[in-house]
């Protein structure tokens, strides 16, 4: 195995594009090194992107926030400005693993690992995040929901690497939240999860909403019908009921040791309703 730590994303992308054999991108390594040690993967090349410029930066920009690919969960949790603007996203990222894992794990890695149960991903879907990709011939930016295509699979092209995760600017009266169900209190993988982001108008009526579910389909799902169910309402019981029903209808989970189809479908609706209430109250709704 060859280890490279290039100083620019362009160099990293070109290395990845040219690589013969199995090449992998290393950021926090909390998934990659587990796979490496267990023999699940046998890399010929590992490209460490943590030495690239801006990899650890959380930048406030004209259009929101740009989060470097190596920014760890612990670093996100310490950024008060980001946490105030996107509490749901930061809480979701901070649920990944232990404090030790938080010291290294990244949202970019969480996304590229391609797990439908990834904690930060539903929150990022709900937030309307975008992903800035560096490729061997140039850069492009795509909506986050275009990245995962199935368990362990993404739409990234050969040589492409996530350079930044972009969160939009917060309009006034908006809020987000993320909830997951696990049978323990920590150190577990989501059985079901829900991320909700809400924007209110001056009167406290829901103007825009985005609702995403985790671990109920081969990828994280953005549920447009659930969002539609609460737009134009003040999140009254009837609206919440419709939101829950739309979420349950969108679920196509598997039965496994963590949860049954029936359980996941029911709990998805419950978590989405609860997360919507938290997001609504964070947006200043009453």
């Amino acid at each position: 195995m060859r280890y490279e730590a290039p100083e620019t994303m362009k160099a990293a992308a070109q290395m990845l594009a040219k690589a013969k054999g199995a090449a992998f991108v290393l950021a926090g390594g909390t998934d990659l090194l587990v796979k490496l040690k267990s023999g699940m993967i046998e890399p010929d090349l590992v490209i460490d992107i943590k030495r690239t410029k801006g990899a650890y930066d959380i930048k406030k920009t004209a259009t929101g926030f740009a989060i470097g690919a190596a920014v760890s969960g612990a670093q996100l949790g310490e950024d008060r400005v980001l946490k105030k603007a996107w509490p749901g996203v930061v809480e979701a990222a901070n649920l990944i693993g232990s404090k030790q894992v938080q010291g290294r794990c990244t949202m970019s890695g969480n996304l590229c690992n391609g797990s439908p149960a990834a904690d930060s991903v539903p929150a990022l879907f709900a937030a309307g995040a975008k992903v800035a990709l560096a490729g061997p011939t140039g850069k492009r930016t795509i909506p986050i929901e275009q990245v995962p295509t199935g368990p362990g699979r993404t739409s990234l092209r050969k040589g492409e690497i996530i350079e930044q995760i972009l969160l939009p600017k917060r309009p006034p009266k908006s809020g987000d939240a993320y909830l997951r169900f696990i049978p323990r209190t920590e150190m577990d993988i989501a059985v079901v999860s829900a991320g909700v982001n809400i924007v209110l108008d001056a009167k406290g009526t829901v103007k825009e909403a985005r609702i995403a579910l985790g671990a109920v389909a081969p990828t994280v799902l953005l549920v447009a019908d659930a969002a539609k169910a609460i737009v134009g309402t003040k999140l009254d019981d009837a609206a919440l009921e419709k939101l829950g029903a739309a979420c349950a209808a969108a679920c196509r989970p598997i039965d496994d040791k963590r949860g049954t189809i029936e359980f996941r479908t029911k709990v998805a609706a419950v978590l989405a309703r609860r997360a919507a209430k938290i997001a609504y109250s964070r947006a200043g709704g009453q």
């Binding site: 195995m1 060859r2 280890y3 730590a5 290393l26 390594g29 909390t30 090194l33 587990v34 490496l36 040690k37 267990s38 890399p43 590992v46 460490d48 943590k50 760890s72 612990a74 693993g97 232990s98 404090k99 030790q100 894992v101 938080q102 010291g103 290294r104 209190t185 920590e186 150190m187």
Partner: protein
């Protein structure tokens, strides 16, 4: 092929040569002779290999040694000040917060990182803060009490 890595470990300059796929834990133990960090699971679940890298608590089994180039690493071997134990170490002994001792270096490093961020943690915060460290002997209660007692002493309360 192998890689030369320059680091600072417990305030000493340490240069070593490692294989590309070697973990920081293996380099610490087998090349540098710092055997305080243990390998429990090797998958980042048990925390027995906890160290800090540039001030961040990490599992050294999930770090490549090559990644440590230029980093400042702190391990259990640097925790005591000469013969004087760190308050956490002393309290672990006083409260009998260990039996076999395999998990103890990891708990101490993680507890020190916790108290640095939060000098007055609640019991719940201690349990969450140390959730990435597994102990199969003590049942955790003695560890939690030792950390509470050390925190009290370190705050001068």
């Amino acid at each position: 092929m192998s890689i030369k890595v320059s680091t600072t470990i417990n305030d000493d300059t340490v240069d070593f040569v490692c294989d590309e796929s070697e973990s920081l834990l293996d380099a610490l133990r087998n090349r540098i002779g710092l055997t305080g960090a243990k390998e429990g699971c090797g998958t980042g679940d048990c925390g027995a290999c906890s160290v800090t890298v540039d001030g961040r608590l990490v599992c050294s089994c999930l770090v490549l040694a090559a990644e440590a180039e230029g980093s400042k690493i702190e391990t259990i071997e640097g925790m005591a000040n000469g013969n004087e134990l760190h308050p956490l170490q002393r309290k672990f002994i006083e409260h009998a917060a260990l039996q076999c001792g395999i998990c103890t270096p990891g708990f101490l490093i993680a507890a020190r990182a916790l108290l640095k961020k939060n000098p007055d943690p609640s019991e719940e915060e201690i349990r969450f803060g140390l959730a990435g460290n597994l102990c199969r002997c003590t049942g955790y209660d003695k560890i939690v009490r030792a950390v509470q007692d050390a925190a009290r002493e370190m705050r001068g309360a």
